[in-house]
């Protein structure tokens, strides 16, 4: 699936409650038996309305997921940023080949000679080298891997 950077159809139709919901749900979801009821109460909403809106936001892909975000290295896995230089004429074919790998968690087209950037997530550290080799074999193009040497900051929270 390719979404244009210049606009998704869904973005323009968020109302104030949707925006409050997105901001409130970006972290610290409570570990209590009825967490949705608790979050809904802080926003002055009913639990059913919150669940209905959350479903709709996921359905429209305003939210790409809702749940725990795993730091896979801490669970014995590995996580690597990788890039390829893909000839424009072959871009669609290569994107489809790369995206077909379940280890590819996200993939972006970027304006640069290295024009395809994706993240590989594997259950074991050696899975990265295996997947990289498999992608090179499938596409016929070299993969540049950029493993994290040090993390200075990660806090992907954006105000809606």
């Amino acid at each position: 699936m390719t979404e244009s950077a210049s606009g998704t159809a869904s973005g323009g139709t968020l109302d104030e409650i949707d925006r409050k919901l997105i901001n409130a749900l970006q972290g610290d979801f409570p570990l209590v038996p009825e967490p949705y009821r608790q979050v809904a109460a802080t926003l002055g909403l009913g639990e059913e309305e919150l669940l209905r809106r959350l479903d709709a936001l996921l359905e429209r892909r305003v939210l790409t997921r809702f749940g725990p975000m795993f730091q896979i290295e801490r669970a014995g896995g590995a996580f690597v940023l990788a890039a390829m230089r893909v000839p424009e004429a072959e871009f669609e074919r290569v994107a489809a080949q790369v995206n077909a790998f379940p280890e590819v968690a996200h993939n972006y087209r970027r304006e640069h000679a290295l024009n395809m950037w994706f993240v590989l997530a594997t259950a074991t550290p050696q899975g990265i080298a295996e997947t990289t080799a498999a992608i090179e074999a499938a596409t016929g193009l070299p993969v540049f891997a950029f493993p994290k040497e040090r993390e200075y900051f990660v806090e992907m929270k954006l105000r809606a």
Partner: protein, 166 residues
């Protein structure tokens, strides 16, 4: 800043819980009860295991991931920098602390194709704003930086989040 900690051991039930939730949390009134039923453990144990994984950084947080385009952040610039190795850790921490930087990492150079060793992601409403923020980073890095570039994204080709095999 969190570094990998090899001491953390996850057992088979933790792994089943990861596999059961990596696609998302059930959207029902009692989601942890639903997971407990699926895993054949008690809801209390689900909560305890999730809390322990949060405490140990296996789970960064529990919440929603917005499609940044859909909520108005239409410019996504990956700024990349060739920073003197002697100063990169001090400067990387400073760049990561800027309020508009959402991710900041040190990564290896790939010479001759790729001279950059510092990556800082900047999301904004438009490219002019991204460029202005990148200019602020350039001032902060000063002479320790030899070259930089901004790689704007023009399409999301895939975005599913992490999956590990069950």
């Amino acid at each position: 800043m969190r570094e990998a900690n090899p001491d953390i051991e996850l057992d088979a039930t933790d792994r089943r819980l990861i596999v059961a939730t990596q696609g998302g949390l059930p959207r029902v009134s009692r989601p942890y009860d639903a997971l407990a039923g699926e895993l054949n453990i008690t809801a209390g144990e689900v909560l305890q295991r999730l809390q322990r994984m949060l405490d140990r950084g296996v789970i960064r947080r529990i919440g929603a991931v917005p499609n940044h385009y859909a909520i108005g952040y239409t410019a996504n610039g990956m700024s990349v920098w060739d920073v003197d190795d002697k100063h990169i850790d001090r400067l990387g921490i400073e760049v990561g602390a800027l309020e508009f930087v959402t991710h900041c990492y040190r990564r290896p150079r790939r010479l001759p194709d790729w001279p950059y060793n510092l990556f800082a992601m900047v999301h904004s409403q438009n490219r002019e704003e991204v460029a202005a923020r990148v200019a602020e980073i350039a001032v902060l890095l000063g002479d320790a930086c030899r070259a930089h570039d901004i790689l704007y994204s023009t399409a999301i080709l895939k975005k599913t989040g992490l999956r590990i095999a069950g």
